[in-house]
């Protein structure tokens, strides 16, 4: 296994554990995970751009109560790794093409990862029952063992899912480029700005209070900033 692939698997495991099981210090968010993946693949700019765009989409989901979130931990790693891998074979002027395919792979991984997270949580129920039986039998140490097994399980499943999603995503992206690279390039020129706008809209709505006045204030500030920019550009 090549060093970037090995690092991708390790990152996939670590970030999957961070998302729920271990610490939740948000290295699992695509902005951070994407940058780390970009470093692993020697393409930090791709990590920043693809990770930042996926981050805006990730803000749409709130991990409230028992709700199973979409898997944006894997999305950040898969998206950036696909973009970085394609970036090595696509000429530099077509930079938006690998980024678009990376974002597509990342979003698909986020959606496909949700049932995987759900499955991990079902498996956790079994571990919980085992630990409870052990504690009731007087073996308190089983609690520690079960917790760390839970972290390890989440990490292993996360690593496996990330590598599988990367293989599928990279294969599909290469097939698309081979089938009609020119169309992908033209699509990227239009789709990337739209995706940034959609992501910004999703993030903005998350930040704005529910009151209508907040939306009005947001639009007013935005119009003011854009007018300043237009005036400055002559």
């Amino acid at each position: 296994m090549s060093p970037p692939l090995l690092l991708t698997g390790l990152l996939g495991g670590w970030l999957a554990a961070d998302a729920t099981a271990l610490a939740q210090v948000l290295v699992s968010q695509p902005l951070v995970g994407g940058a780390l993946t970009g470093l692993a693949w020697g393409d930090l700019p791709a990590g920043l751009r693809v990770g930042a765009l996926l981050q805006l989409f990730a803000l749409a989901g709130l991990p409230l109560g028992g709700r199973t979130p979409h898997d944006y931990a894997s999305a950040g790693v898969v998206g950036v790794a696909v973009a970085a891998a394609l970036g090595r074979s696509v000429p530099a002027p077509l930079y938006a093409t690998p980024a678009l395919l990376g974002v597509a792979a990342g979003l698909a991984a986020a959606l496909a990862g949700q049932p995987v997270i759900r499955w991990v949580r079902v498996r956790n129920e079994g571990l919980t029952r085992w630990a409870e039986a052990q504690v009731l039998a007087g073996r308190a140490g089983a609690l520690d063992a079960a917790q760390w097994l839970g972290v390890g399980h989440a990490a292993l499943v996360g690593a496996g899912f990330t590598l599988a999603a990367l293989a599928l995503g990279a294969t599909a992206a290469r097939w698309l480029l081979a089938y009609d690279g020119l169309a992908v390039q033209r699509a990227a020129v239009v789709a990337m700005p739209v995706l940034w706008g959609v992501g910004a809209g999703v993030a903005a709505r998350q930040l704005l209070p529910a009151a209508r006045g907040a939306l009005v204030l947001f639009v007013a500030v935005l119009v003011f900033l854009l007018a300043l920019r237009l005036a400055a550009s002559g």
Partner: protein, 255 residues
């Protein structure tokens, strides 16, 4: 609660160990018990102190039931439970179900302040600030995001256990809720400005590259994103894939 005659057994070192173990609060998160087992795991140093090596399993068994709250604000619940158990072990006359009732009350109360503050305000605000840096090519973007989120995270996670232990159930009172609501209001006002600055930067980067059409696409996308957020009929990821699919179809057919 503050009876000076009560001899307390839980030590500062035990509470620090609870803080460290709270990092695994959700290691076995599931729909049945949610954070229940994580809570018992985090409290094990307190169990060892109060019940000894022989009695800790029985002590912990009482805390294996369902529990759920915001994972960072759970620190307060851990502190309160440690305090109530320490009081009981010290001879304070508490009803048999006092700790269980406290846990049932604290879970929703702490989630009601923690979820809006951390998930709906701090995370998006820190993320958008980080993205603002990242889209300009700065590698500091992810670091800024990480620090902006994790400094308050570490403070609440650490202080929560000690404040919960020090104040008991009074910690999750009206004062905390009002104070955090005010903080959240201020952060959200900053959020409005930061969100506008992000859109301006995204549109501006298109203009700077001579792509006026691109700036219009950004603003069009913004309208779609805002409209989607009102109903949320499909996941945001599916919306993004749909945008890419439409663009690919257009690029293929328009030749």
């Amino acid at each position: 609660m503050s009876d000076p005659a009560v001899v307390r057994q839980v030590r500062t070192g035990d509470l620090w160990r609870v803080v460290a173990r709270s990092l695994l609060l959700q290691a076995l998160f599931n729909r049945e018990r949610m954070q229940g087992q994580g809570l018992a795991y985090a409290l094990r140093p307190v169990a060892r102190r109060l019940a000894g090596r022989e009695g800790e399993a029985g002590w912990l068994a009482r805390h294996l039931g369902c529990f759920n709250t915001h994972p960072v604000f759970a620190a307060y619940a851990l502190g309160v439970v440690a305090r109530l158990e320490d009081d009981r072990a010290g001879g304070v006359d508490l009803p048999e179900d006092a700790v269980a009732r406290a846990k049932s009350a604290l879970g929703p109360a702490l989630a009601a302040v923690g979820d809006p503050l951390f998930w709906s305000t701090l995370r998006p605000l820190a993320a958008v600030i980080g993205v603002l840096w990242a889209v300009q090519g700065s590698a500091y973007g992810p670091l800024v995001f990480w620090f902006l989120y994790n400094v308050p995270h570490a403070m609440v996670r650490t202080r929560g256990v000690f404040a919960g232990y020090g104040m008991g159930l009074a910690v999750a009172g009206e004062r905390m809720r009002i104070g955090l609501d005010r903080l959240r209001g201020a952060l959200r006002l900053i959020g409005v400005l930061v969100a506008a600055a992000l859109v301006d930067t995204l549109a501006g980067s298109q203009v700077a590259g001579g792509r006026w059409g691109g700036a219009l696409w950004v603003l069009g996308g913004l309208a779609v994103g805002l409209a989607w957020s009102e109903r949320r009929r499909v996941p945001a990821g599916a919306l993004g894939i749909a945008v890419i699919g439409v663009a690919l179809a257009w690029a293929t057919l328009a030749r």
